[in-house]
Symmetry: C2
Subunit: 279 residues, 2 copies
């Protein structure tokens, strides 16, 4: 299979490494607007060649769109305009509805598969690409009814090759879900980082002294705005709801401390502990 990867950052680069290793790709092409990233991707031999998007469309059986979600949304209609009946276009965006909706009713909609591989790190660019990043993780496949069976098969082959498990859901369900398990975690980490840095500036050498717990909780605050502003923009309503739900729980916690109601505080913590059974 000839595979093109559009966007050679953390996600695209990691797919390149594992697809090559799995032997699924006879040819691996890259599309990358950053000259620096393109150069690094070639140095690292992530892809065989870096080409333009029209060349990638011409010379590949499957395309993986691995750019920030706003760029995916902008390019998808054009990509589908040019899609051949034997070609599969897969997007890997972290918010789905505003990518999927404009493609609804497109004459080539069936060539397109909407996917969200639930894996990543806080780092960006080709140098962040990791072997085995997706192994054992889940890919959420959305609205498969709207994709052609052979396009679904190609997508499943690709995700299987990198070791992923499959889950299926509608795009709107995906976005609500992703708001809670992924986007909200980033918001919480960003807010924690900002709060701690304010203290730091006030003369407390806070982060230098921190243990592993703080590092773990704040890790996602290192994630880039280039990737995350578009995600928050695309999934704005659901993210706002999740922040509200989170704020309510935070206020409930604060209210217990305010009122020195330690019985209730203990009950809240015991409820929170149940995440053990769910992860």
């Amino acid at each position: 299979m000839r595979i093109s990867i559009v966007g050679l950052g953390l996600i695209g680069g990691s797919f390149a490494i594992d697809l090559r290793k799995a032997g699924l790709a006879d040819a691996l092409l890259g599309v990358e607007t950053s000259g620096e990233h393109a150069r690094r991707a070639l140095e690292m031999r992530l892809v065989d060649r870096v080409v333009s998007l029209p060349e990638a469309m011409r010379d590949s059986d499957a395309l993986l769109l691995a750019t920030p979600v706003d760029a995916i949304a902008a390019m998808l209609p054009t990509v589908l305009d040019a899609a051949r009946p034997d070609q599969t276009v897969i997007d890997l965006g972290s918010a789905k509805l505003r990518i999927v909706e404009p493609a609804r009713g497109h004459v080539n909609r069936a060539r397109y598969v909407a996917a969200h591989p639930m894996a990543g790190t806080e780092n960006a660019g080709p140098d962040a690409a990791l072997e085995g990043l997706f192994r054992g993780k889940t890919v959420l496949l959305c609205d498969l009814d709207d994709s052609a069976p052979d396009a679904c098969k190609t997508a499943l082959e690709i995700f299987h090759a990198v070791g992923m498990k499959f889950e299926f859901m509608a795009s709107d369900q995906h976005d609500r879900h992703a708001a809670y398990v992924s986007h909200l975690s980033h918001v919480a980490a960003y807010a924690l980082s900002l709060a701690v840095q304010t203290e730091e500036k006030a003369g407390y050498a806070v982060p230098r002294l921190a243990g592993g717990g703080f590092a773990s909780t704040v890790r996602l605050a290192k994630s880039s705005p280039e990737m995350w502003v578009p995600i928050f923009r695309h999934n704005r309503e659901q993210v706002l709801k999740s922040i509200e739900a989170f704020s309510e729980r935070l206020q409930a916690f604060k209210a217990c401390l305010d009122a020195e109601d330690y019985k209730k505080l203990e009950a809240l913590i015991r409820d929170a502990n149940q995440i053990r059974d769910l992860l």
Copy 2:
């Protein structure tokens, strides 16, 4: 050196493993109110014997108090009453002021060293004890002016033996600091767990699908109320302040999304990213 460890859980048990390995302890005694934990600690050979607190006082050169902070505060005056001039008592609590203050002016105050090893996991009990838990981590030593030089030396030997780096500060400064880098991280994780679980109960199989980012951010929500309610209680004022600072940043984030001010959202994220330079 004959060392007694009071409380054979995650922290006490991990000290037992590494102090034995370092060859610093000729004899290692344990004090443990839970019969089950005492039995496990002996099975695991964490300590040579489990004894009563008075026996531990009689038969050891140094005592490490590694129970929840309320139990430390309750036992410290009695322990100091019995402390010999050649004996060192070290507490390992995560909040200091309400442990240190009642000991101020005690005739044997100089035998006591207040310490907070900044290391741990979300697990509890002797089975959670980990070899190397403290290696490369920082121990905050508080109010050392109030401790006798030979007691300080003993404490430094013990923390050095398990591979820790030292930082020195006043108890009140410690508590403000710890609220931000440790206690607030736990509050945020508990609130995140509660918010996500509510969604889960509403029929969204949220956590099952989560990636590594969520797992990392929510990890501390598994931490037990037995340890954490007393910490929040002891450091209530500072934790309340840190929750307020965190809530403000969260609301600032939400306000950007509400107003669709993505330039400002990007600026907030860039500020949050600076945690990279501090960790």
